[in-house]
Amino acid sequence: MARKTKLYPIDGGEAYMVTVERAASGHRASSEAPDFDAHVATQGPGRMSVVTEKGSYEVSVERRNGEIAVKIENEWFRFNEERESADIAPRSRARAEVKAPMPGKVVQLLANVGEKVVAGQGILLFEAMKMQNEIRSPQDGVLSSMAVAVGQTIDARERLFVIKGNDS
């Protein structure tokens, strides 16, 4: 039974339409744009061997939160399972609380409370696993509170700071 499957590029371009059907030792996947015809064999969770006319490839697939990430020869390709509609597109929320993802130490504050910040802006420097990393703002807004100080040791999931959205 052939089944048409849609994959949406992560950057929001035109959807790809791929036909999948069962075949000996796995599945056949084919498409007209781009034009390909592939045999896909699965071995264990997320591990696939893909054979096309052009070549033989070893592939790793991970799915999470509606995203499909494919790793081939150390390069990543990412697709959305569903088109994100305007309704569910990321938008500024009233309040975003950012927590520490792992235990570590605050090294430096990069923004002041009350400051306007944009999505992706570094808010503080955090040291974990011997490496320094920026913790960034998840959205545009105002840095409304800072729960930690430089030099402080933090447990995983402890609150770091809060961003108040522009909408609020």
Partner: protein, 500 residues
């Protein structure tokens, strides 16, 4: 030789030390924190003792816990590996005082080399070049006179300084007086102390280091160099030997300098003398590492010497089994440090469960790893999870094998630096060894990481086929991982997703 050795470390280096001990018939004792009960090093040692909770400050850094484990198991010696307590002179002293052998230098030598000013003095006494500099200088006129001897560009540096405060890069003599005064003012404002020195600014330097070994009978031999210029923010990523930048004459002079420094310091066991080398092939002493280095396997592969075996023999009183003239390189070698970091996202650390692991194998490949299929990569420790070491007849063969090996290497479950190596090993500048220590910082994120994927159309088709089969076939088990150990769980990102 010892009958039983405690390995005061974890991860790949604990596993690597355990292997040589087992080869020599020495029983090994692992120590582990609560986060490491499942770790490979526990399974690879003959005995294992819990030493505390996950944070290293409560386990791997607690000298008393480690010495208690040694006492409890009857170990006769402690190998500290690298990191943790490896360069802690107090731990070395406590170990010796407890009647155990410390597999490394004396605590006195560690203290000496751990003090930058004393180490520099020692280098000067051993006639090893250091970065030319001055004592503190009071006024611009004296500075101009002193600058003549050093040459431009140079740095004006606050003696009390740090973090770039009170520091100025001076390109030529005309700019010196103004920048000199600025630096003094800033030093005064920042540190309450206006004293500054002049120091030569080494442009586009390479990091080249020499492995030395010294026994307790006064013999010191160097085991050639390692080129370690592929660094990101002073963290080495690729190391190789020999360095194609050195000729025999310079190699010989640098090696002699390293031996001279170790002799002058009455150094024992294995150590590394690090140098900066400028584009004109002048070299300057940087520091001495008083332990086994992460990158020691490249030296093992070009000399045929097992450095851990040699460390154990030296610590048990043996003489070096070779003299300098015996040390001839055979072929070339390169080490790639595989860390759990995402090179496309500024090397942010990545944790999770290793869902699938297949290391590269075959001709010329050596693996020193601390993980296995099923291992958890936790946020508690250094993100170095595996070392891929490649040997060959010459650098060209090593590069070819390294490219093949990186392509072959499969790790699912965490982000790794494999994609970094995949692109770096094909970079013309790296292939020509036309690099310096700032190469990665200057070129990776801004240029190499954002370059288009080679063979994009071809691989996109394959990705679409795989993604479509994954989406269309619920019967196929997915590569999903438990929420608490997800690749998606990275700094901030998971929370952001959760807030959507």
């Amino acid at each position: 030789m010892f009958d039983k050795v405690l390995i005061a470390n974890r991860g790949e280096i604990a596993v690597r030390i355990a292997r040589t001990c087992r080869d020599l018939g020495i029983r090994t004792v692992a120590v582990f924190s609560d986060a490491d009960r499942q770790s490979l090093h526990v399974r690879m040692c003959d005995e294992a003792v819990r030493i505390g909770p996950a944070p290293s400050s409560e386990s791997y850094l607690v000298a008393e816990a480690i010495l208690a484990a040694a006492k409890q198991t009857g170990a006769q010696a402690i190998h500290p590996g690298y990191g943790f307590l490896a360069e802690n002179a107090a731990f070395a002293r406590l170990t010796t005082e407890a009647g155990l052998a410390f597999i490394g230098p004396s605590s006195a030598a560690m203290e000496l080399m751990g003090d930058k000013a004393r180490a520099r003095e020692m280098a000067e006494r051993a006639s090893v070049p250091t970065v030319p500099g001055t004592p503190p200088i009071e006024d611009a006129a004296a500075a101009s006179a002193a600058a003549e001897a050093i040459g431009f560009p140079l740095l004006v540096k606050a003696t009390a300084g740090g973090g770039g405060k009170g520091m100025r890069l001076v390109e030529d003599a005309a700019a010196l007086p103004g920048l000199f005064d600025q630096a003094r003012s800033e030093a005064m404002a920042s540190f309450g102390n206006p004293a500054v020195i002049l120091e030569k600014f080494i442009e586009l330097p390479r990091h080249i280091e020499f492995q030395i070994v010294a026994d307790h009978h006064g013999n010191v031999v160097h085991l050639l160099e390692r080129e370690c210029s592929v660094q990101r923010r002073h963290q080495k990523l690729i190391e190789e030997a020999p360095s194609s930048f050195l000729d025999e004459e310079l190699r010989s002079r640098m090696g002699a300098a390293a031996v001279s420094l170790a002799s002058e310091a009455s150094y024992r066991n294995a150590g590394t003398v690090e140098f900066l080398v400028d584009p004109d092939r002048n070299f300057y002493f940087l520091e001495m590492n008083t332990r086994l280095q992460v990158e020691h396997p490249v030296t093992e592969l070009i000399t045929g010497i097992d450095l851990v075996e040699l460390q154990l023999e030296i610590a048990s009183g043996a003489k070096l089994p070779f003299v300098q003239a015996d040390i001839k390189p055979r072929g070339a070698a390169m080490e790639l440090r595989i860390t759990a970091e995402d090179p496309f996202d500024n090397f942010v650390p990545s944790g999770g469960r290793i869902r699938y692991l297949r290391e590269a194998e075959g001709p010329g490949i050596r693996n020193d790893s601390g993980i296995a299929t099923g291992s958890e990569v936790t946020p508690h420790y250094d993100p170095l999870i595996a070392k891929l070491i490649v040997a060959g007849d010459d650098r060209q063969q090593v590069l070819a094998r390294a490219r093949r090996a990186v392509r072959e290497y499969q790790i699912d479950g965490v982000f790794t630096t494999l994609p970094f190596f995949s692109r770096m090993l094909r970079d013309d500048r790296f292939v020509a060894n036309a690099i310096d220590v700032s190469f990665v910082d200057r070129h990776w994120m801004s240029e190499m990481a954002v370059a288009p994927i080679a063979r994009h159309e071809e691989l996109l088709e394959v990705a679409l086929a795989a993604a479509a089969v994954s989406k269309a076939s619920p019967a196929i088990r997915e590569g999903g991982v438990p929420a608490e150990s997800s690749r998606w769980k990275r700094f901030g990102l998971e929370d952001q997703l959760g807030n959507r």
